[in-house]
Amino acid sequence: MTEVLAENGKPRAVKAAADDLVEVRMTVNGTPAVLSLPARVTLADALRDHLGLTGTHVGCEHGVCGMCTVLVDGEAARACLLFAVQLDGADIVTVEGLGRPDDLHPLQEAFGRNHALQCGFCTPGFLMSSYDLLSNQPEVTEEELPAELSGVICRCTGYRNILTAVRETKSAHPGGIPAPGNCAHRALVGRATGQAGVSTDGREVTEETGDTRRIDIVLPDGDPTIAVDVGTEIGVPVDAVWRVFDDVSLLARCLPGAELTEDLGEDQYAGRARVSVGPIKLAFKGVAHVVEHDRAGQRLRVLAQGQDTGGAQTQADIVLRTEATATGTVMRAEAKVYLTGRIAQFGRALAGDVSRRMFEQFADALRETATSGQAPTGPVAAPSALKLLFAPLFDRIRTALRRKSR
């Protein structure tokens, strides 16, 4: 057993046997995280395997190559030379926290512009090391740059372009370079191989265990992984659609791959969802909360949160709206989906295509249910691997061909 003995401004006192797990609380890219780890796990492995942050690379694992460089309490450090348990109370920033895909940090911009990366293996290390240099030693001179950046090794670029990128960033920001731009509260979860970490900041009800307890679903800050805004025409009257919306068990059975397992009361429901896309197969267990059910205003809002056994996590904020038309109903869905873990590595574009396709399947099932007044027999099949993966591709090929033939 791990014994947590005391707390002061320093890390908490700990006494753990060799086979114990030690609890460590740290902030990673703005998100508080709690991990339980064997003491010998390095920060690099904790970030990669337990928090799913694979941007921190691992080369030599003994402090020489610099691939694993991250910021610890604002200063660059080797994540392979720190045991994660030593970082209780520490503030960690990894390359994922430096900039956003659609709003890169100036250093990242400069690296791209100057071709300061080839294979990219050293790039996270160089970015974090040079961020540390320019933020903590802004007085550094051009002549000092090679020595100051010698803590990271690059096998590809010959260093010239890297030095140019750092020099340009420095001179473009004489008043100091901007802080990391992608640090916010979000879900952090690891890969299937590692034991998942939990992100918490006290905003969540942490005693949540499995799917039988009600929880407060707190959506992460920052941009969703996927934002879908889709609409479709359903050839049934609004009233019929709302009869399905009113019956959550009926509604759930229209959702591809979803299954309602328990009514938790107070508009919360436990359920399961299976998604299989290509080689990726995820089985989520989670909770959905109907936070708004406004028949007059024709708005239904559901928050959902699920975790898969491998540690992938998803959170979603879904708003369904209906509008009567001459021929039936237009249904619109606005969904913000936050993904972490394996599925997030899939790429935004394809994930967006997949969710749109799922919405279409949902609309089809909804039309059927609203028309017949009967739930589809059994849950709607989980989005099938081939269909889901290839349908978006076929769509794209078709669009491309259409464009060509014009």
Binding site: R78, Q86, S150
Partner: protein
């Protein structure tokens, strides 16, 4: 490249830390910054049963001047010392620290950890020896002070017993009439030195004292008085500064022969290291002398 399992203890007081270390019966190891220890564990060159992490012990965080010394506690990181203005009281720290590994290592590595690790080519043990800093070693029997020149007893071997903690080091604050020199040659910045020198010269009226420490040239930092050599060179050069390094070269040849006793390796032969040492020592002694004279002059006028 993963460490073998170990028990992990992070006590919050020095007495607990000492008790924990003692209770391991020699199977425990202190971890401070981990910048030397973790690679050793990762390569499984060592498999301590227990790591005693001293980073939660608030009383080891002391850093400041008192009684003519700059005291640095066991958890004070190298980079903090490098950047804190108070370190200007011991100019050699500012000259040596940028050479200790890289920024990314100094952010975690501690000054005391480097002394305890006692790599023969490390910079800080050499600075400690040249200034004859005082190390505070605390064990179950209490604390004792060990002069740096008696602390290092061989490659990675020190006066620390298996149950001792190096709790702090005190470097004498530079006084009037003192000047310093530091230089090393490494194959790449951040690598351990092929050879390096630390020089301290004190000018008081007509008296001149000079201490020279070499590192990377033996199994530990080696320190000798170079007062005689400096005096001879001063006579030879007629006190002309630009001629001093040249004039030192001859007198330092014998000293280099005596101090540099490491075997050659793939990077440098013993003779090359001796020449390197002599050249660096001539330059740095000259600079230290110049700085000492200036410092003495400033005070006089």
């Amino acid at each position: 490249m993963k460490a073998a399992p170990f028990a992990y203890v992070r006590p919050s007081s020095l007495s607990d830390a000492i008790a924990e270390l003692a209770s391991t019966g020699g199977g425990g190891k202190v971890i401070a910054g981990g910048q030397s220890l973790v690679p050793v564990l990762a390569m499984r060159l060592a498999r301590p049963e227990t790591l005693v992490d001293i980073n939660a012990v608030a009383e080891l965080d002391r850093f400041g001047t008192a009684d003519g010394y700059l005291e640095i506690g066991a958890t004070v990181r190298q980079r903090r010392v490098e950047r804190d203005p108070v370190s200007a009281t011991v100019p050699l720290l500012g000259m040596a620290l940028p050479w200790v590994g890289h920024r990314e290592l100094r952010s975690r590595g501690t000054v005391c950890g480097s002394l305890a690790h006692a790599d023969p080519a490390a910079e800080l043990p050499a600075v400690a020896c040249c200034l004859n800093a005082e190390l505070t070693v605390t064990g179950t029997g209490g604390a004792r002070r060990v002069p740096a020149r008696e602390f290092f007893s061989g490659a990675m071997t020190t006066a620390l017993g298996p149950e001792d903690i190096l709790t702090a080091v005190r470097f004498p604050v530079a006084g009037k009439g003192e000047g310093f020199g530091f230089a090393e040659i490494a194959r790449r910045h951040g690598d351990f030195a092929l050879a390096g020198v630390v020089a301290r010269v004190r000018v008081r009226g007509t008296e001149t004292d000079a201490q020279l420490t070499g590192f990377g040239v033996s199994d530990r930092p080696v320190t000798r008085s170079a007062a005689g050599e400096l005096a001879a060179a001063l006579r030879e050069s007629g006190g002309e500064v630009s001629r001093l390094p040249g004039a030192l070269s001859d007198p330092l040849t014998a000293l280099a022969e005596e101090l540099v006793d490491t075997d050659g390796d793939a990077h440098a032969s013993r003779d090359y290291r001796r020449r390197l040492f002599r050249t660096l020592a001539s330059r740095e002694l000259s600079k230290a002398y110049e700085r000492a004279r200036r410092s003495a002059g400033e005070v006089d006028s």
